[in-house]
């Protein structure tokens, strides 16, 4: 794994409540790099999160809102966060339900800068 990817993942996994972080190829839905707790199916989350991001993007464009900058899916037992990164990547975090979303978002945006 390259230093850039490693430091992007490190930045995201440092946030309290993060169960796993991934760099995903946005168009393909394939895992580029991951740092996940045991029991999280990285390839499944990557494929579904990329598909979700793609659909949000279409919805957002259709509504003339531009491109999505950050996606927060709050579920009953956890959260899924996603943010587009340069070079066709998507940053994905799987986290506890009570994660500090603001802090996680900040770290994802920093990680996106690292990958630029």
């Amino acid at each position: 794994m390259s230093d850039k990817l490693r430091s992007a993942l490190d930045a995201m996994t440092r946030v309290r409540g993060v169960r796993g972080a991934m760099v995903v190829a946005r168009e393909d839905g394939l895992v580029v790099a991951e740092s996940l707790m045991e029991g999280i199916r990285g390839n499944a989350v990557a494929a579904l999160a990329a598909n979700l991001a793609q659909r949000f993007r279409r919805a957002s464009e259709t509504a003339a809102c531009g491109l999505p900058q950050f996606i927060h899916l709050q579920a009953s037992e956890g959260s899924l966060l996603a943010a587009p990164a340069p070079s066709g990547m998507l940053l994905v975090i799987v986290a506890d339900a009570d994660i500090n979303v603001g802090l996680a978002r900040l770290e994802m945006l920093k990680a996106a800068e690292v990958l630029a």
Partner: protein
Amino acid sequence: MTITRAVEPWTLEPLKRFVAESAARLALLTTNSGQVIAQHGFTRAVDVMSAAALGAAIAASTAEIIRMLDEPEFRMLAHQGQQHGIFLAHFGTPRGPMLALVVYGADSSIGLVQLFFEEFARELVLACPTPTPAKPVLAADFERDLNQSLATLFGR
């Protein structure tokens, strides 16, 4: 309306689920030699036969390259075009090895197809009835079987 049809009825429900979940536009399930077992999305028999023959040929030539490299058997190939992607995979069932040829568009991705393909292959193995002893293949039976298969696949 896009139709899903199967020569082997036990493949129909898993194929329908796979197509719905992966958003595949075309799907073709064949034996290693290109004999069609089920299809989704094809409207012309000639397209099915061509795709089955080409899929089997690609799998055979790839398997040969893999053999030359002393690698384990051929599992999957993917091609990403501008508007469509192609996924070709080889997997085993109690009825013998099979090939799946999947064409997907911009509303899906290779990750999604791969993900649901794993489930599809598992479901097929579970749904597969106990194999019966193979009969000798006769030239006279071959054309009749082929016509029967095409009639089933296209509802004619």
